[in-house]
């Protein structure tokens, strides 16, 4: 479903080159629930933006659902984002001027879907996240957990092949976070492929597989001396 080989992302200024990702390799199979973890600045969000075609990369290869994406133009990338990817952001990213129904409708409109089908999909998605009764509410009238559920409904409404979640519970309290996480697990059980970036080990543990990113590279924790140093310190502290 998602395969990156020797991928690199370099930010260049006049004086310095910074590698956000370097020789980055990952392979996510259809139906998998993968958690990508790592410390701040490790490159996990950069990975997610590239995986979601929000950003281009500098080198290597990226196949999404069998398509090599580096050659695609901006419109084709928009189309893939719209049809194949569902995004769940840490800050929910609902449009404050639109009510819940209109927010969920946004990606469907860009797909040029007919009104009747849009309405059906929106109501189905809202039912699924338990917010059908809040369709006419504005984001500001909802709790954080409810807003994230609306964002999940928005991501689900288009029946994407891949769900990308960036710290989906980062802005939520424990109880709300648990609810959102249960919802993601349920969606996964129904067959969705989910890649979730998080720095919360408890959340990561609930995924099928964990991928660790340090300094822009996927590492095997068992063999990485940096992890041992960090866990040794953690042990000492506890």
């Amino acid at each position: 479903m998602l395969k990156m080989s020797h991928l690199a992302k370099v930010y260049r200024t006049e004086v310095v080159e910074t590698y956000a990702l370097r020789d980055f390799n990952i392979n996510v199979k259809e139906g998998e629930f993968v958690a990508v973890t790592g410390p701040s600045g490790s490159g996990k969000t950069t990975f997610l933006t590239i995986a979601g075609l929000l950003e281009t990369f500098t080198g290597g290869e990226y196949h999404l659902d069998g398509v090599e994406v580096s050659k695609l133009d901006d419109n084709a990338r928009s189309r893939i984002r719209n049809e194949k990817i569902g995004f769940i952001f840490q800050a929910f990213n609902l449009i404050p001027d639109l009510n819940v129904f209109d927010n969920v409708e946004v990606p469907l409109r860009y797909r040029g879907m007919k009104a009747a089908e849009r309405k059906q999909r929106i109501m189905d998605a809202l039912e699924r996240v338990g917010l059908a009764s809040r369709a006419k509410h504005y984001p500001a009238e909802l709790s954080g957990g409810q807003q994230q559920r609306v964002a999940i409904a928005r991501a689900l409404a288009g029946s994407p092949r891949l769900l990308l979640a960036d710290e989906p519970t980062g802005n939520l309290d424990t109880q709300m976070a648990r609810g959102v996480m249960e919802l993601l697990e349920e969606i996964h059980r129904e067959g969705a492929t989910i890649v979730m970036v998080t720095h919360d080990p408890e959340l990561a543990a609930r995924a099928q597989r964990n991928v660790h990113v340090i300094d822009g590279q996927v590492v095997d924790l068992a063999e990485d001396p940096r992890f041992h140093a960090a866990s040794h310190l953690a042990d000492t502290a506890s």
Partner: protein
């Protein structure tokens, strides 16, 4: 189309939306009326007098001194002018087209009718007038020298023979046939018989008030026995400059007891026309400037608000891009948003334009605003709106989808 969500979003930004729509509405109302005024003035400017204006010179002359009878003096002056080298013909008169001062009078077909049929101007002329003015006689005959009298301006102005313009003939007589018929220029009941009809001759006034009778002129065969006379002179082709220069000296040499204003005393007819329409031309230019400034301010307002909204909604644009909007979708979002605001503005503006015209109509005798101006104004403002929003909308379309993942 995304009209419904755009309208929903605009409802949440009422202040900015209403302000820009109102600005567009006011601009439309003012621009429509200003363009209408410009058109009115320009069409007034381009009216013809019915004269062959080239080579005509106008002289404003006032006799001074103890004399109370001016007939012989006028005759001497006219003889001197007509004998001058380069002069084709000349005559003395109370007024002429575009002079912006003259006599007007009501015309009746029944002597004791309470209400006149129309108004007309009176030109006191002699048998040389038609040739000097270059006016075309289309029916009847010109005056002959024997018919021209010296007339005391304090006495009746009704004379037995008159020449009238075609426009006046058509106004007075249903079939337009006026030759040999009788008209009444005063309430004393003295008849005047139409002996000739000229194709066209404009009144002296260019203002709106004379608009209803601006081609109604009656030519009377008389020279007013008064100290104030206008001499109209036709120079031979190519001689106008020389005649213009030589005339003041000739008149002073003929009779020193006169005043010819240094400024505008002796002037070509081009100069007469230019001065007559100075206000109209000035008004047209002023209105043009008002239109340009207003349109520029409105465009700047749209650019300003759109730029502000694009800046404010960067994150939202990034989210839309992340959810699958193409650059074209973002561009069209902002263009459509502006179109909807402008549409609201022009609908209100059209009503305002008619309201403003109604007020001008009552206050300044303007004409009713034609629908063409409103339609032109509406199209122009919608296009202006689209042009003004283009740069901010393009900037919005270039916002990267990665903006969605950035915090604030």
């Amino acid at each position: 189309m995304q009209i419904k969500p755009i309208l929903a979003a605009l409802r949440r930004h009422k202040a900015g939306t209403i302000l820009i729509a109102l600005q567009i509405a006011l601009t439309l109302a003012i621009v429509c009326n200003a363009l209408f005024i410009i058109q009115e003035r320009v069409s007034r400017l381009s009216r013809t007098t019915g004269m062959d204006e080239s080579n005509v010179i106008a002289i404003a002359n006032r006799y001074v001194g103890p004399a109370t009878v001016f007939g012989p003096t006028i005759k001497t002056d006219l003889a001197a002018i007509r004998n001058m080298a380069g002069v084709e013909d000349a005559y003395a008169t109370n007024s002429y087209p575009l002079r912006n001062g003259g006599w007007s009078m009501g015309v009746r077909l029944i002597p004791d009718a309470k209400k006149e049929i129309t108004s007309t101007t009176l030109y006191f002329v002699d048998d040389h007038a038609l040739r000097t003015l270059g006016v075309k006689l289309i029916e009847g005959r010109n005056f002959n020298a024997g018919e021209v009298i010296m007339l005391d301006p304090r006495k009746s102005t009704a004379l037995p023979q008159v020449i009238i313009t075609k426009a006046l003939a058509q106004k007075l007589f249903a079939d337009g046939k006026s030759l040999g018929k009788t008209i009444y220029l005063s309430q004393e009941g003295k008849p005047s018989t139409v002996i000739g009809v000229v194709e066209k001759l404009q009144v002296p006034w260019v203002g709106t008030w004379a608009g209803s009778f601006d081609q109604h002129a009656v030519l009377l065969p008389a020279t007013l026995d008064a100290n104030y006379q206008n001499f109209l002179v036709r120079a031979r082709p190519g001689q106008q400059e020389a005649v213009l220069k030589a005339l003041p000296k000739l008149l002073i040499d003929t009779n020193r007891m006169r005043v010819i204003p240094e400024e505008g005393g002796v002037r070509s007819f081009e100069d007469v026309r230019r001065r007559a329409y100075e206000t109209d031309r000035g008004m047209a230019i002023l209105m043009g400037i008002v239109c340009a400034v207003l349109l520029a301010i409105t465009a700047a307002g749209i650019v300003g608000l759109s730029s502000f909204w694009v800046g404010q909604r960067r994150k939202q644009i990034g989210v839309r891009r992340a959810l699958g909007a193409t650059k074209g979708d973002i561009l069209s979002y902002f263009m459509t948003e502006n179109f909807l605001i402008a549409l609201g503005g022009v609908i209100v503006g059209s009503a305002l334009a008619y309201g403003m015209n109604q007020w001008l109509l009552e206050q300044f005798e303007m004409q009713r605003l034609s629908l063409v101006y409103v339609i032109t104004g509406v199209v122009a403002l919608l296009l202006l709106g689209q042009a003004a929003v283009l740069a901010p909308a393009l900037r919005a379309s270039r916002v990267s989808p990665v903006e969605a993942t950035r915090s604030v």
